[in-house]
Every structure is written in C-alpha cells, then in structure tokens.
C-alpha cells in the first residue's frame, strides 16, 4: 500500500507516475483476487471427507479410511476410527488426521447417535493420522497413557508440519490437542460401560489397546493391520511381536485394527506378525551382506504379501527406519589401530 502522497517531497510527475502504476497493480491484484474468489467455494466443496459409519457390533460404529499413504486426494483419511454408544453417551476411539476430519467425525457421531454427549475420547498412539482431530473434542475428555502423551508433546508439531506438506489444505486450521487425562488403570467405566485398557508397545513406544467388555470388540490401534502393510517409523519389531502374542491370547469377539477391515478370526494379527517377521529377517540378512539401503529397497517381496496395500512404498520406508539400528548391532565392531 502506498502511503498518502506528500506534495512537499515528490515531484508532480513522479507522483502521477507512481499513482498510475499503483492503480494498475491494484487492478491486477483485484482481478486475480476475483478469479480466486470464484474458485474458492468450488475448491472448498471438494475437500469433504464424506465420512460414513458402519455398525460392526451392537452400538459400535466403524469409520474406515482409504488403504493408502497420505496424499492430496485422501487428505490423510487413511485410518480407522470408531465410536461406541454406551448407556449414557458416546466413546470415541481415535480422531483422524485433521481438524476438518474431526469436525466431520463429530457431525457423523451426532447424526448416528443423536442427543448423546461424547463422554470419552481415546488416542491409541501418537501417530498423526490417529489424533489430529482431537481439537474438535473437549480436551478434558481426551485420554491416553502417559507414554502417548509424552510422544505427542515431543513429536506432534513436527508431524503437523509434515502433514501440511503431504495433504495440504485438508489440514487448514489443524493444531495439536494433547490428551489431558493420563491413564494407568486396567479398566475404566465410562457412561455405564466397562472398558479394559492394555498398555503395550512395539508399533511405537506407547501403544494403547482398548476392549469394550460388553461387545468384546478389541480396538488394537496400529498393533494390528489388515490387508495393509504395517508401518514402522517408531517400531521395535521384537516388542511388537510380543504385543501381538499378548493380543492373540486376549479374550475378544472382534478385532478392530488401526487400518483395514474388522477381523473376527485374528487374521490381522497373523498378517502383521508374518510381515514383520519377514521384514526383520530380510533386513538383518541385507545388513549382514553389507547391502546399501538402496540395494535392500529393491529386493523381491514374497507373493503372499501381495494382498497388503502400499506394499513396496511401506517396505522402502521401513528400510530407512530400521536399517541404522540393525547396522549398529549387526555390523562387527572394529578396533581402531590409530
């Protein structure tokens, strides 16, 4: 913006010239602005997660995301979220990747279960696709183990930045809302329903599993993936396998995994365990052979994993995640002579 013309300092000619230039540039800005205004509503209309809920057990509703990696089309809706009608209200398991998702989820809950308040929101772990919808819920209701809270405090802002880069405008207005209730009990009664709480790890350093003791649905978070390649940015594979073992032995009627369809027979646990075992073995062998990460990334993947989506991409990511630690344990230590 040009300040008020001051006749004392500018010559008449140059003032005229500047004013003309200023008017010309304002006209350009205005016309560009109008073009943008005309486009903006159209664009905003496109950014709709179109969430739908399906009832997977009595009063238990699943919201399934795409079996994909984050991109500009899916807006980060690649995750499973659930909500449960309990006698006095609603319990929510995970909140999705963005504020926009959280708003759509809350609207969906209110449409599906009208006139009942949300009483509790659980975060299964700190990954951004699972808890960046938190901010639309009353923060005093959001609960997770202390480990999840600590991880979110440590890495949440970095996740947010990266998600803005990966999915763009879908993230508009999203900021991190950290759970305010730190859980450490083995169960919790919420609105007349008892939930068993399991404190595990392996997919991350703090993975939280919730079981609805009435319906027997086990909400595993990302300890179980179904028809989707497991992700490993914070994984410790041996611990993860131990957690899968523990979950296999846990009473349940239905598994609701972090990604993919619900699973009655425990296939999600078997699939996840099988893939992790293959991944671990393959990378150990590669490090022992002295292969570079790039050479390991192009190794063949057995056909039996073809039913897992995002297979090659997630495998390549896992090479980067897991290789350095394997090198620090498997490559022989060398004594310096100088």
């Amino acid at each position: 913006m040009k300040p008020d013309a001051s006749p004392c300092c500018d010559s008449v000619d140059s003032t005229k010239h500047e004013r003309r230039a200023f008017l010309k540039s304002s006209a350009q800005v205005l016309s560009a602005g109008c073009a943008y205004c005309a486009m903006a509503p159209l664009h905003a209309k496109l950014l709709d997660y179109k969430l739908a809920a399906s009832e997977i057990a009595k009063g238990t509703w699943a919201v399934h995301g795409a079996q994909e990696y984050f991109n500009l089309d899916n807006g980060g809706n690649i995750v499973n979220v659930a909500f449960i009608e309990v006698p006095d209200g609603v319990v929510v398991i995970d909140t999705g990747p963005s504020k926009r998702y959280g708003e759509a989820l809350l609207a969906l809950i209110q449409r599906t279960i009208p006139n009942k308040p949300v009483l509790r929101v659980y975060n299964t772990h700190h990954h951004p696709d699972h808890c960046f919808g938190n901010q639309v819920f009353d923060s005093s209701l959001i609960a997770a183990p202390q480990g999840v809270i600590d991880n979110l405090r440590l890495e949440g802002d970095g996740f947010a930045e990266n998600l803005y880069r990966l999915v763009g405008d879908w993230m508009r207005g999203t900021s991190l809302s950290v759970p305010t209730v730190a859980l450490d009990t083995s169960y919790e009664n919420v609105g007349g329903r008892r939930f068993s709480l399991f404190y595990l790890s392996g997919h991350t350093s703090a993975d939280f599993v919730v079981r609805d003791d009435e319906t027997g649905v086990l909400f595993t978070g990302d300890l179980a993936f179904m028809f989707r390649t497991p992700t490993t940015p914070h994984a410790d594979i041996a611990t993860w396998q131990a957690s899968i073992n523990a979950l296999s032995g846990t009473d349940k009627d239905l598994i609701f995994p972090g990604h993919g369809p619900q699973d009655r027979k425990g296939d999600s646990l078997t699939q996840t365990s099988d893939y992790l075992a293959w991944l671990d073995g393959t990378l150990r062998h590669s490090v022992e052979q002295g292969l570079t990460m790039n050479e390991a990334m192009v190794l063949p993947i057995p056909d039996r994993f073809n039913s897992l989506s995002v297979l090659r991409t997630e495998y390549e990511r896992s090479v980067v995640h897991l290789y350095p630690n394997l090198e620090d344990t498997l490559l022989p230590e060398i004594e310096l002579t100088r």
Binding site: E161, N162, R165, P233, E288, Q289, G290, L291, T292, M293, N294, E295, M297, V298, E316, R317, V319, V320, H321, P324, E327, D328, L331, P332, E333, I334, E335, L336, T337, R338
Partner: protein, 299 residues
C-alpha cells in the same frame, strides 16, 4: 571472468582491514597492488587468447533431465573441464521421497564405465551442494552413502573418465527439509566425544576379483549451519592395500549424514588380503583400522 582482478580487489580490502601493519609494509603493498592493476587488461587479454577452452561459453551443456535451476552452476563449479553427457551407465539409486531428511540413502553404480577417475555427487539445492568425491583407483566404480537434505532437490552425479568426459546420472528426491540446519543427534548425548570414530564394518568377497566393504563410523558430521555448532566433519577416507597402494580415496563434505556409512567395492586378488582404512576429520583426528577380505575358497 579474470581471476587477477578479483585478487587485486581482495588485496586492497585486506590492506584496508589490516590496520596494525606498519606504514612501510602498507606502502609497499599498495605499490604492488597498483602495478598489478595496471597490467590487468594485458594479462586478461593474453589469457583469453591462449586458453580459449577456459571460456565457459565454448562448452556445450546438455539440458538437465531433472530440470534443476542450478544445473549450469553445478556444471561450472563441480564438473569442470571436459564434455558433459547424460549416460544411462551411471546408475543413481535414491528414494523418490526422503523418509528421513537426515539419512537419505544414495547408491551410485558406474561399473559399466571403464577408466573412471572420479565420481562427484552434488545435491543442487542444498546450502552446501557438494556431497562427496570418490577416486576409485583400485576399486569398482561403485559407492553407497547417505546424505542430509535441506529441501527437495535434484541430485547430480558426475563420473569422470580418463578422457575428461563427465558421464552424468541423477535423481530427484522430495523431502520435508531441514536436514542441514538441525543439530546432529550426537549433541543430544553428553558423551558423544567418547565414541567419536567408533567403527563398525564388514568386508565380504563379492567375486573372485572384488570385495564389498561397508564402514560405519561415529561422527556428528556438523555442517556448521546449525545454530552455535561449528562445522566439524569427517572429510577424508583412504583405503590402501598391503603394498601401500591406494585402493580408493573419498573426500567427504558437510552434507554426508551423521555417522557416515559408506559402501565401496575394492578390487582384490583371490587370496586373503588385508586392506587398511584411514579416516580424517576437519579437526585433524585420525581413525585407522585394518579390514580383511577372505580368500576365494574361504567364503
């Protein structure tokens, strides 16, 4: 264009800054500068006449398949001299997207080319572009390494053969960024100096005539671009055979990832052979160790 002009200007600046010098010294210096100034046009003309090859305009620079805005500058600065050609025999493996901007793996395989003298890798849009230079000497033209990326960038790798030709390959890597300006992980530990240079390595025979050597050494590889942390990085690795002949020389620069992890392929005989590795950093610390390649029958 003419280097001498820059030199005399620098000299003047230095003379002005050095206020503590004696008058006589300064007078002598100023006199010398003016002599240089007067002869500048003549010298420039002379140089331009006898070294037409020095003029950049005479070199045909091919279009860059990675459409880097820095391409011409990269060629001038890092791939000087001979002809520049993109060559499918220079195979550069890199992920499409950097999962971790502090450790982006790159593998260069130019083993189909013969008479390779050096391999130069640059990340065009890094604040410091030059990643490393490898002179394979008695090794196959192969190197694996990891790099820090400050932003999404084209990578260019030039492989210079003895005829002076730069055979180019490359990749484009998307990245979240910030890899060069964040402190190394080492600075999160209070005892990182104790493990400086600590080494893990493996050597295996790959064929009757070559081995695969992977070394991983503890070093923060500070770029000097993280606030309050001066540049401090491993800048030289030399591999020699038992006869003292050079097997490979590597010059590393700031963008190489923390705890440099390098894979090369020394050429060896069929019998057991012990190679010696010597690494140096910018503070003059030296880290040396032997690595033994087993005999053909032994593996």
């Amino acid at each position: 264009m003419c280097g001498l002009l820059g030199k005399s200007a620098n000299g003047t600046a230095n003379a002005m800054l050095a206020t503590k010098r004696t008058i006589s010294l300064r007078q002598r210096f100023v006199t010398r500068v003016s002599v240089v100034k007067n002869s500048v046009p003549v010298v420039c003309l002379f140089l331009c006449l006898i070294f037409p090859a020095l003029s950049h305009a005479s070199r045909d620079i091919p279009a860059d398949p990675f459409e880097s805005v820095m391409w011409k500058l990269m060629v001038e600065r890092h791939f000087p001299g001979g002809e520049v050609v993109f060559d499918s025999r220079v195979k550069v493996s890199a992920p499409k997207s950097a999962e971790n901007q502090f450790h982006v793996p790159i593998t260069v395989d130019a083993t189909e080319l013969s008479d390779v003298e050096e391999i130069v890798a640059v990340a065009d849009l890094n604040p410091i572009a030059h990643i490393l230079t490898v002179r394979p000497k008695k090794s196959l033209s192969f190197v694996g390494f990891r790099v820090k990326l400050q932003q999404a960038t084209p990578i260019h790798v030039g492989v210079r053969t003895s005829d002076g030709v730069w055979h180019m390959g490359g990749a484009y890597i998307d990245a979240a960024g910030g890899g060069c300006t964040a402190p190394a992980m080492a600075h999160g530990m209070n005892n990182w100096m104790k493990t400086l240079g600590k080494t893990r390595a493996s050597t295996r025979r790959e064929s009757p005539l070559s081995a695969r050597m992977t070394i991983r050494m503890r070093h923060p590889m500070d770029t000097g671009l993280a606030a309050g942390i001066p540049a401090f990085f491993m800048n030289q690795i030399t591999v020699q055979d038992a006869a003292g002949e050079t097997v490979a020389e590597l010059d590393l620069y700031e963008p190489v990832s923390e705890n440099p992890t390098i894979t090369i392929k020394p050429k060896v005989g069929q019998v057991e052979e012990t190679l010696s590795v010597l690494a140096r950093d910018t503070e003059g610390n030296e880290f040396g160790f032997p690595l033994t390649v087993p005999a053909v029958a032994a593996q």
